[in-house]
Amino acid sequence: MKLGDAFDEMHGQDNGLRKAYRTYQEWLDATAHTRLLEKHQQADLIFRRLGITFSVYGSEEGVERLIPFDVIPRILDAEEWKTVGTGVCQRVRAINAFLDDIYHEQHILKAGRIPAELVLNNPGFRPEVLGLDLPRGVYVHIAGVDVVRVSAEDFYVLEDNARVPSGVSYMLENRETMMKLFPELFAQHSVAPVNHYPEVLLRTLRSVAPPGIIDPTVVVLTPGHFNSAYFEHAFLSMQMGVELVEGQDLFVEDDTMFMRTTSGPRRVDVIYRRIDDDYIDPLAFDPNSMLGVPGLLSVVRNGRVTLANAIGTGVADDKAIYCFVPDMIEFYLGEKPILKNVPTFRCAIADDCAYVVDHLDELVVKEVGGSGGYGMLVGPMSTNEQRSDFRQKILSDPDNFIAQPTLKLSTVPTLIDGHIAPRHVDLRPYVLTGETTQVVPGGLTRVALRDGSLVVNSSQGGGTKDTWVLEA
């Protein structure tokens, strides 16, 4: 695909300067290029000193890398943000209603709007929590919805990430860093703040404590400091002022969750867990897990501790269920979807599958349960060999794959080897649900640094940018 085809968020399709970027362009014109390069290096030092690193799976153990940070911001005006912000909140409201439904009455299945077997046989569906009433009926307290743009008006949702989305610490640290590096830019633009995210997160978590708890104790549960997102777990617990615990720090007694402190056991009411369902309780799920807490599920089932996100949200974040989110919005909310779904071919359906294997060079193929940019094929960028490899994989296990047309992701100017060049981006706003569903303006912009690449994941060489939402 030619880059020239993509919508550029700074220059539009016709190379005119778009409104949101006017002030920035003036600043850029008045600023020596070398200064921009210096700031770029400074940013690198800041991130290293802060220790904002992630570990790469499959590479040498203990290797810590920085996610490349680009100093040119991605800017959205108030109107553009209104579409995205209300759109992602709408989806999350629908998804929460869907989860509450399928773990109780299953109206949507009875109404035939979603094939029942697709839900009930889904690996993310957890019969263990059927009939369980959760505080405020919330399942997905934190969602990171991946949004891409293809034109001035058209935004698509790629994934809803309803399990344990990560990256929000980059949203916050990117902003901190930009404010340190370019204070004058913030004086010239009225950029909507994001720094209150931890505050909103804490309020959200406290609002879903088990009934009757006046002053709930919240903790962040991490797999430990070798996990790739450990920095973020530490960062969030610190920002919220709550304990960062590992599975070994928690134990169950008298149907209550406790943590081991230097002054004895202390009761825990809400767990913001950054561990997948499979590993959270070795007695209920994977018995080999060393990360979880034995007996956790029974305390959850008795409503004595709240997990955020709840057990069983994976079913909503499955790439096959994804196709039905617009139906959920209509079914539960009686609203029209604000954001578009990418048309999706489910290889489980014979016709779809036949089409997909015939058009691999045009499509993006993904595993239904995959994440992190692993196990996907970007057709237009692929080799013959890769395509025949995928054809084999799809035909031998069609249920495991979906395919979508390759979207021309929008581009934003990015500093590459000392020069400014357009690179493809996506956007992950973070949606919080407690008493209400809300979103902090902006999110994490990920950018594919390789020329022409559409894969923005940090594990695949992606970087990040600060995302500015201009106040009206």
Partner: protein, 310 residues
């Protein structure tokens, strides 16, 4: 605070203190080796660090001969030597990272910066900038670490357990350092010669105690007084008495009636009751080895009392 976190903070402080004390020992050894009269017992000099913290067999297998260069390479940058300065700083930073939310930005960034700079250090670079400068840098980073803790951390559990780690480790290191050096520097009854004064002076400097010695005793350097200063003086920040008094105070503040608090009280009291002549009569190294064992026992009891994870 979580027991596991207390353990991380405690070890973080211990490892930084360990790195500093090793830098002190190596700086002192290096300094003494520059003296003209030192050539005779050069090898013995450089064996001291190995005896203290290294694994002699591992050293001989991997590096061969005990030369100043080999010992420095092994003690400073060798990652396979778990006691090297680099290993200690790595472990300190690893523990800090595991308990990042408990630390202030100043403390974390300080230790992370130390780690990052040390990771780029090579033997050639160390030669180039000078060993002395390098050891001074390690000491400075340790001062900065303690200063950041003292100046920025809330007086809560994280502060308390890091202080506990610092003083327990320092007591141990002072005792070990002195035990190894004592016999090595002993003149065996012959009168002190000029180079002996240098050596004992270098030993005092390794504990930042040269000036204090002059102030307290206002006389020439005598081994007996050096021992008194570093073991029994309550106003010397690196003496056994001062360190154990700090440990005891912290533990009494944490839990008055715990078994570890009682033991730390006994350890400190024993130092209070003793006179230096009595200790020297039965042998200083013997006394110090007994101290090290009890201090280590105390470490185990602290772990059981506060940090039991499972």
């Amino acid at each position: 605070m979580l027991g596991r976190t207390a353990n991380n903070v405690y070890w973080m402080a211990r490892y930084v203190e360990r790195a500093e004390n090793l830098a002190r020992l190596l700086a002192s050894t290096y300094h003494m080796s520059l003296l003209p009269a030192a050539s005779g017992n050069d090898a013995q000099q450089w064996e001291a660090p190995l005896q203290l913290v290294g694994d002699r067999e591992d050293f001989i297998t991997r590096l061969g001969e005990i030369t100043p260069g080999n010992v420095l390479a092994y003690m400073v940058l060798d990652v396979e030597n778990v006691s090297s300065i680099r290993s200690s700083i790595r472990l300190a930073r690893e523990n800090a990272r595991a308990t990042r939310p408990e630390l202030t930005t100043e403390v974390w960034e300080g230790i992370n910066q130390t780690y990052l700079e040390l990771e780029t250090m090579s033997y050639a670079k160390m030669v180039d900038q000078g060993f002395r400068e390098f050891f001074d840098w390690v000491k400075e980073r340790s001062h900065l670490f303690r200063g950041a803790i003292y100046g920025t951390m809330r007086r809560g559990d994280a502060f308390t357990f890091s202080r506990l780690g610092t003083f327990l480790e320092r007591a141990d290191n002072t005792a070990r350092f002195l035990a190894v050096k004592w016999d090595m520097l002993s003149t065996g009854g012959r009168p002190m010669a000029a180079e002996d004064y240098y050596r004992w002076g270098a030993l005092l400097r390794a504990f930042s105690a040269f000036k204090a010695y002059r102030e307290v005793y206002s006389g020439i350097i005598e081994p007996r007084r050096v021992a008194e200063l570093l073991v029994l003086r309550r106003d010397m920040p690196r003496s056994l008495f001062a360190c154990t008094a700090e440990v005891n105070e912290i533990l009494r503040h944490l839990r008055e009636n715990a078994a570890c608090t009682r033991l730390s009280g006994q350890i400190n009291e024993r130092l209070q009751r003793n006179r230096i002549d009595g200790i020297l009569r039965s042998g200083l190294p013997r006394f110090l080895n007994g101290f090290i064992a009890r201090n280590n026992e105390l470490h185990g009891m602290i772990g059981q009392e506060f940090m039991l994870v499972l």
